[in-house]
Symmetry: C2
Subunit: 145 residues, 2 copies
């Protein structure tokens, strides 16, 4: 079975959704699910796209992410490190690690994300955790909450 790409980071038989629908704080992010799990492959494959200057939610959770950039460039916080990311970089987000993706100002950031179908609920930082994050060099200037 082939999910045919239309050439514009959209797939023929795949719906485009908002990134989240639970009121979390993010800016200009869409989500497409390319594989829901099955055939004894216990993962989902999603494509997320962050618009110019947009960002995902700053959060952590027990489940891991395995991310491959396939469009544009941006930056990512993983734990206490902010890194530039670009085409075909592979980013591992370990369990219970703060993370946030941001697109560059003039370019979308699109990435494939592999996760377990069963996932725990993401946590957002409370006041104490924010204080800890803000004490890390480079992180305070980066995070958007």
């Amino acid at each position: 079975m082939i999910h045919r790409n239309t050439g514009k980071y959209r797939w023929d038989d795949v719906d485009v959704h908002p990134y989240k629908e639970d009121g979390s704080i993010f800016k200009d992010v869409t989500r497409q699910t390319l594989f829901h799990g099955g055939d004894d492959l216990a993962v989902e494959l999603r494509y997320f796209e962050v618009g110019c200057n947009g960002h995902t939610t700053l959060e952590r959770h027990e489940h891991a992410h395995l991310v491959t950039i396939i469009r544009g460039s941006g930056r990512v916080l993983v734990g206490d490190i902010v890194s530039s990311i670009g085409m075909h970089d592979v980013v591992q987000i370990p369990p219970f690690t703060w993370h946030q993706f941001q697109a560059d100002e003039d370019e979308e950031l699109g990435f494939l994300c592999i996760v377990n179908p069963k996932r725990d609920r993401p946590q957002r930082p409370g006041p104490e955790e924010l204080e800890e994050l803000n004490a890390i060099g480079g992180v305070a200037e980066f995070i958007r909450i």
Copy 2:
């Protein structure tokens, strides 16, 4: 943790291997493993690249493949159907389904492949199975064995 792409479908800390080292029949294919499983994500992520006019082994097995094209174009046999494939198409290979990837004559075909870390041994077609495959319109002209 970031596996940094070098810009040429190679990653900083990832070795390039031949596609297979068991004597199977293939032509001009390399394999790079980007994720070996871990963090409760029970999958491997590999990048395969088929050189111009190259091909993977015609085979089937119990484990499934989830493939995303990230370079070039080509064709794929899945079951009894030969399809053209190109950038960002997503191809599901269900369990125990004959499959073979071929690059176009003038372009490499590169794809990410998600699989279970524990996999059964691939089977190649015997004489009777080849006869069945060759009886399917379009397949006889496609397969390389």
